[in-house]
Amino acid sequence: MARPTSVVDSSPDVEAREADSTNSSQTGGVLGWADDRLGLAKLGRSGLLRKVFPDHWSFLLGEIALYSFIVLLLTGVFLTIWFKPSMAEIEYDGSYQLLKGLPVSEAFASTLNISFDVRGGLLVRQIHHWAALLFVAAAFVHMLRVFFTGAFRKPREVNWLIGIGLMSMSLIAGFAGYSLPDDLLSGTGLRFVDGLIRSVPIIGTWAEFFVFGGEFPGSILIPRLYMVHILLVPGLLLGLVAAHLALVFYYKHTQYPGPGRSDNNVVGYPLFPVYMAKAGGFFFIVFGFLVLMGGLFQINPVWLYGPYDPAKVTAGSQPDWYMGWVEGAIRIMPNLESHWGPTTWSWAIFLPGVGLMGLLFGALAVWPFVEAWLTGDKREHHVLDRPRNAPTRTALGVAGITCYAMFWLAGGNDIIATRFHLSLNAITVFMRVAVFVAPVIAFIVTKRICLSLQRSDRERTLHGSEDGVIVRSPEGGYSEAHVALSQDEAFALTQHLQHEPLAVSSDTDDAGVAKKQQVGRVRAALSRWFLGADVQKPTVREIEHADHHGELPEVESSDDGKPQLH
């Protein structure tokens, strides 16, 4: 049973007094006023503004995506003022003569209105579309940078997953926005996605009716996509972007290897003022690029495409670039279909469409954990890998890019056929083989290049660099002396961890009692595949020996007294 709280009958005798006013800020004026109310100075003292970031061009790729996103928000607000997300049919009577009097949807008519009758509308529309393409492109390239430098390793796996979420959201945002104008090209893309949804086994038709509110195209899809495009996905994107950036602050930024850089520090310049200026300036440059592209290059000329009509599909219909690889996969897939009982299993669409997208995002999401499992590495990493020092990962990444590129090319097979006077069928057959063979070739070539670079690093560390002076000896031989590397360079070449492949661990303890095996045969074999070929970096002893060796003349005489090239 609960006991009643004790009640004190008398309150402590406290004199009423005026609020303390000595707390106010040292600085007067506007800053002081703001500090008194918002505590801004404390923010600065907390070190948030003094957060140190390292400098490298590849760290700005993600910023391109961020700034494109901001441009998207700005231009998007402008477009929502005039866009009408309605599929109601009206007669077009705007100023574009070639569509005059035709029945079009309100969405299409308002897009034409923005393009031809709203001042600056076409410019903003084109900036918005270029920014969307750039946003997804920069996000992809940023992801590749993170992948190849191993920035996804502990402790950043969560941020990697958030990045995958951002990527999938950006694809949905892009696709929904691309479909809004309700033109013939985007409608064809919508029909494509309708096919993807329907290809899902068993529930496909129900899912289609759920999304489209009945038969394709129905009359509610554009309003639904509008909600997705301007509210749902941007909201999710904003939240995920905030989390993504907050985690960058929390973990601190990674850095490339170099003298004085370790997993315990960050070498760079503080956010304020250096990176405030750099990042702020870069925002305006990205914005400027996008305005120039929007102003100079035509994009998505919906007035040429005309209004959507499910009965019409034009030659040369393509999705925006980030859906091109799925389009390509479906174009080259042989026609496979099973009928089991009352169900239809459309493998030709389901496997390359839904299956491949699931495969890409699934593989990306699990990779950090797979790699940790392969290397058995549980350490934190804040210094980035040079891609050559993780040859198998780099090779896998290049193989992935190659496979993606093959599907991508297949998506433009009709453009390739007409521009290069090739047979569409020949391209299709070639691509069916290339999507499997080209990644294997890319893997082998990349791994060999990485290992060669590792070997050359080792060579360089042990023997120094050529001094550039070719000496001809009296006997006629030529030689070039080597000079020792600077300490800084030697450090940068040798600081990385040398992972050893995992060995099969014992499944009994010291006393011979069975216990859970830590590393099984399969894991050990995979680990050997992943790490086994790595070139050993020079040991301390080898470097010391080489230093000693370096004092000797580089040209050694052989037994018969003739000098030889060392």
């Binding site: 590849s58 070639l98 440059i285 996008l290 393509q318």
Partner: protein
């Protein structure tokens, strides 16, 4: 009179009488038959000239009587419009057999082409070379031209692309670009269905509709590029290419500059 009587007995009288009878019958037939006219002799000459040209340049594939061989189809019944289209765009005479004949330089005068057309037309009825009222888009209203756009998207753009830029077809065949094709040739192609193209008869597509389509193509390809440079004119494919080259490429260069610039932590 005496002379005539005397001539009756002459040995040449009978043959001469026969010739006279033939001439009378011939002239009489010419007078009665309405098809014989002075224009006919011109046509006959043109057909003869056409046949000579045909025998020289076309018959090796299409056969001496245009009946067709293993190398080329029969031309009986294709009509003058087909010849005017094929020869007028340089597709015929073909240099070689290939997936599809490309447009080439025209080496024949319009007169020669019309002669061959007249000869081929004389072999069997087919679409004639149109007059300019049949294909010229002059005098169409804005609404009619817009309707032409709708017709084009419904009937033509599946192969010829969104504004007639051309498109790919199986096995190296292609739907050619219509941007530089003359109105007459577009009309003739629709009526005769050359190569992969389906035939659009007058029942399916009246002359008025053809004029509207031609008017739309002229206006669509003649309009300024609203929004700027088309950058290769391959829709999202070229857009994707340029966003990587100019967007990612250009901004990476700027990023390198920014990372190198000013306070540097190396």
């Amino acid at each position: 009179m005496k002379l005539l009587t005397k001539f009756r007995r002459h040995s040449l009288a009978r043959p001469a009488l026969l010739i006279l009878a033939l001439v009378v019958v011939g002239l009489g037939y010419a007078g009665v038959n309405p098809q014989r006219s002075s224009a006919e002799t011109e046509t006959t000459q043109q057909v003869e000239q056409g046949k000579a040209l045909f025998d020289l340049t076309c018959s090796s594939c299409h056969g001496l009587g245009a009946e067709g061989t293993s190398q080329g189809p029969t031309l009986i019944g294709v009509g003058a419009a087909a010849v005017d289209f094929q020869m007028g765009t340089g597709r015929m005479p073909a240099a070689r057999r290939e997936a599809q004949l490309p447009v080439r330089e025209v080496n024949y005068s319009q007169e020669q082409i019309e002669a061959v057309a007249a000869y081929v037309a004389s072999l069997g009825a087919g679409p004639a070379i149109p007059s300019s009222e049949q294909y010229s888009p002059e005098g169409l209203s804005d609404d009619e031209i817009a309707r032409g756009g709708s017709l084009f998207r419904a009937n033509c753009s599946a192969c010829h692309g969104i504004t007639g830029g051309g498109g790919a077809m199986p096995n190296g065949k292609f739907a050619p670009s219509l941007v530089d094709t003359s109105s007459r040739h577009i009309y003739e192609a629709m009526r005769t269905g050359p190569q992969q193209m389906p035939t659009f008869s007058k029942d399916v597509m009246p002359d008025q509709s053809v004029r509207e389509i031609i008017g739309y193509l002229e206006d669509a390809n003649g309009q300024p590029n609203h929004g700027g440079l088309t950058m290769g004119d391959a829709g999202p494919v070229s857009e994707g290419l340029w966003v990587f080259i100019i967007g990612i490429g250009g901004l990476s260069v700027v990023a390198t500059w920014i990372a190198k610039k000013g306070a540097r932590a190396r």
